[in-house]
């Protein structure tokens, strides 16, 4: 594909193994990454991708095996050694100092002398040169914490290049980006490849792999199961390799049969604690038997919308109607009351709101409903009944490992989400509100969760789905609304194109003009 792609490998891993106690994270991994290529590593969450990259970047040391950089054996005990070997990494959670300016972040660890004055001038010059060479412009004096995530990521890439990285590892780089920002990132990766840099792209998104990589390696349960030329493989083959069986990428569903409106939100305005309007005059309606999807880049008011509708936080103005109950969102309402009216809520952040990580699976399975008479025996909880019910749900939802006593923190993301989902769906609510249902969830569980959501719809429930995953919104929703800067930008059908929705997500209202 690329002329430079076959000059001999930039990285060679031989027999890399790494265990954390009894858990084998990486098992006998071999990998060859060609110089000047974009090499994708794909796999489900927990497949061992991040561990492998952490070994390469010196965050962990491998138990067995060896690493060769440009044909030479390399010993990488810490990040310093990795940087010296020409490896740069863009972490999933950016490793930036929010209160520092761009130039301070770039020079941290490569200051060029004990005094800063000269270093800052040099860094500025070099930053300008890099910006021109790779078309990555960013204001050197901007405070990093105030930049949008797309630009923060650019700072991370520039940081790696500033240190002279020839090999760039990107860990789930598009998780936080808009489609437009992601496209720009891919153009940058293209330029980097043309400049002879080697890029390792870690992702679980098949489309990105197909779009940008030359070669792709698939990891499953700590092992490297296959390496393919991207041009010679397909999404379905890769998906199958990832999970070890075929998966449905498209969600199968019948056309919706919408009934009477079950959930109505009117004139919702929400201010955050700093007094910034986060939701502006939002109104929506969800009917029985349909899924309304709310798309948008994260941080555009979706979280506040969810919190206000579910009664967690007060709104400035607005009321919600659940069935026949009209509830004023500005006053005396709380999450428990909303549940009594027949609304269930799967919160977007399961660690903060959905689960108590230190509690057992069984305890988590009754959170928020623990006051119900059926769970108590006199003054005490009826542990026996709780455990029995939890076990039934574990079987029904295929929660693994099947233990009611294991702490919630010990389950994988997908299984944690199933615990929350089981708890909320088994209430048989009329209205289901669900935020980021598959964030940090592996493919097998995604498929399952999507199926349950469709089942809820087909059982005549009203489902309000909020997700930053556009694919998810498009494949599940019967109607799609897009939020931008707290406003609902418009409504589209599920057939709306990605570009059209992308423009709305970027705040461009008149799609005809664009």
């Amino acid at each position: 594909m690329n002329a430079q792609a076959h000059q001999g490998p930039a990285i060679e891993l031989k027999g890399i193994g790494k265990s954390f106690g009894p858990v084998v994270a990486n098992k006998d991994i071999d990998l060859v990454v060609g110089k000047g290529s974009v090499h994708g590593i794909i796999g489900e969450n927990g497949a061992g991708k991040s561990t492998l990259m952490s070994i390469l970047y010196g965050f962990y040391t491998a138990d067995t095996g060896e690493i060769l950089i440009s044909g030479k054996k390399a010993h990488i005990p810490d990040s310093k050694a990795a940087i010296e070997s020409g490896i740069g990494m863009v972490h999933q959670h950016f490793m930036l100092v929010d209160t520092f300016s761009v130039v301070e972040n770039i020079m941290l660890g490569a200051e060029g002398g004990a005094m800063l004055d000269k270093g800052i001038d040099d860094a500025r010059k070099e930053l300008k040169r890099l910006a021109e060479e790779y078309d990555m412009h960013v204001d050197p004096d901007a405070i990093v914490g105030e930049l949008p995530v797309g630009l923060q990521q650019r700072v991370e890439i520039l940081k790696a290049l500033y240190r002279g990285a020839d090999i760039l590892i990107l860990d789930e780089p598009t998780g936080v980006l808009t489609p437009a920002e992601a496209d720009h990132l891919f153009r940058i990766l293209d330029v980097l490849r043309n400049e002879g840099k080697t890029v390792l792209l870690i992702t679980h998104k098949l489309r990105e792999i197909m779009h940008i990589t030359d070669t792709v390696s698939v990891m499953r349960r700590g092992e490297m199961v296959a390496t393919r030329k991207t041009a010679e493989t397909s999404m379905s083959e890769l998906a199958e390799l990832m999970v070890g069986r075929s998966v449905l990428l498209e969600v199968e569903k019948q056309p919706a049969k919408p009934g009477a409106p079950l959930l109505k939100v009117e004139n919702l305005n929400v201010k955050d604690e700093r007094g910034v309007m986060r939701v502006k005059n939002a109104s929506l309606e969800v009917r029985a038997g349909e899924i309304l999807g709310i798309a948008g880049v994260s941080g555009n008011g979706q979280s506040e919308l969810l919190k206000a509708i579910s009664g967690i936080e007060k709104a400035q103005t607005g009321k919600v109607t659940i069935g026949t109950h009209v509830i004023d969102l500005t006053g005396e309402c709380d999450a428990a009351a909303m549940r009594d009216y027949g609304m269930s809520h799967v919160p977007e952040d399961r660690h903060k709101m959905g689960l108590v990580n230190a509690f057992s699976e069984a305890e988590n399975s009754i959170l928020g409903y623990h006051r119900e008479p059926k769970y108590s025996k006199g003054l005490l909880l009826d542990k026996e009944f709780i455990r029995k019910e939890a076990m039934e749900r574990i079987e029904k939802y295929d929660i693994r490992p099947p233990s009611t006593e294991l702490k919630a923190a010990k389950f994988s993301g997908g299984n944690q989400q199933k615990i929350v989902l089981a708890r909320e769906i088994e209430r048989d609510p009329d209205v289901l509100i669900i935020g980021q249902p598959t964030r940090g969830v592996d493919i097998g569980a995604i498929e399952y969760i999507h199926k349950r959501i469709i089942e809820m719809r087909d059982a005549g429930k009203a489902v309000l789905l909020v997700s930053v995953e556009l694919d998810e919104i498009r494949s599940l929703s019967d109607r799609i609304m897009v939020m931008f800067d707290g406003e609902i930008m418009g409504e589209r059908g599920p057939e709306a194109s990605e570009q059209e929705l992308g423009l709305l997500m970027a705040g461009v209202k008149n799609t005809e003009a664009a």
Partner: protein, 322 residues
């Protein structure tokens, strides 16, 4: 009136000095992400060491060296608990305070048998006042003479060192590589680690600087301001310094102003002892003594606006990916 003002300001400077040393000490530690509630204990330990060593050796400088040594040892204990062992920094700091409070009295009694104090020092083994050039000759010039000879001149060396430490600290924090890394490690240790810099070593250095400055602070209490160590002589100054640090939003120059403010209140309290206030009469001295503490509560409760500490302060760094 003018003379009174000068005298109050003069004692403000003297009373601010130990606060200023301790406040800057805390600044290094907290900027690196290590919350230091043990300033008090390090001051006290340092004060005892200064008093004891100055008495034995007869030299204030050896007293200072001993104070720095002891204070750094306590700082290393705090560092070991909170950096290496990733323990709770507040608990470790409180432990340092108890350790110092108990040990100083125990050792003082065992060595000198004077109920936990160290013997009175003669003038030669204390830091005595430095008279700046021309202080005597221009003393009689109106206004300026008094200002120069009383307020500017006539303090001991440690006072001048404490105020010189302010621009020095500013320069180190904002103009050197060490300062940049120090600020970074308090905000985002993971960013520092992935940049190939050791988080632990950086924090240990910060904690040691904190120990050195606390040593100065303790020395000033025992053999600058007084003529020997008295039990519990730090009397909460370490906590006031911590309050000043928050009030100053972890900035060196602000820290100086905050410490001067607390020193000023202390000076006023002393000045007002037994004085009649027109229209009110004699106010119990306890009210004035309580004033700095009341002010601390009021200021910290909201008058300074939001004081945002370094983001990672108080959190041990665990090298782990989430």
């Amino acid at each position: 009136m003018y003379e009174t003002l000068i005298l109050v300001l003069d004692s403000t400077v003297r009373l601010s000095t130990p606060l200023l040393f301790a406040c800057l000490a805390g600044l290094y530690s907290e900027r690196s992400g290590v919350v230091d509630i043990g300033l008090e204990g390090k001051m006290l330990g340092g004060a005892f060491a200064a008093g004891a060593a100055a008495y034995v050796s007869g030299s204030p400088w050896i007293g200072l060296a001993a104070a720095i040594l002891v204070s750094c040892l306590l700082a290393l204990i705090h560092g070991y608990a909170s950096i290496t062992q990733r323990g709770n920094q507040v608990v470790a700091g409180v432990a340092i305070n108890f350790l110092a409070a108990g040990l100083t009295i125990l050792l003082g009694q065992a060595w000198f048998g004077q109920g936990g104090r160290t013997p009175q020092l003669d003038k030669a083994s204390r830091f005595s006042e430095v008279t700046l050039p021309f202080a005597d000759s221009i003393q009689d010039v109106p206004y300026i003479g008094l200002l120069y000879s009383e307020l500017i001149s006539g303090h001991n060396a440690l006072v001048y060192i404490s105020f010189l430490a302010v621009p020095l600290t500013w320069w180190i924090i904002f103009r050197t590589r060490f300062g940049l890394r120090l600020r970074a490690v308090g905000e985002s240790p993971a960013a520092v680690d992935t940049a190939g810099i050791s988080v632990g070593w950086l924090r240990y250095r910060a904690v040691l600087i904190c120990g050195i400055l606390c040593g100065f602070s303790g020395t000033y209490l025992a053999i600058g301001q007084s003529a020997g160590f008295i039990k519990d002589m730090s009397a909460g100054k370490g906590f006031i310094a911590l309050a000043a640090l928050i009030f100053a939003k972890w900035k060196p120059v602000n820290a100086m102003y905050a410490c001067l403010l607390f020193g000023f209140l202390d000076a006023v309290a002393i000045r007002m002892q037994g004085q009649e206030i027109p229209g009110i009469g004699e106010v119990p001295v306890q009210i004035f003594q309580a004033l700095p503490y009341i002010l601390t509560v009021v200021l910290l409760a909201g008058f300074v606006g939001r004081a945002i500490p370094p983001k990672a302060s108080g959190i041990p760094y665990v090298k782990e990916r989430t």
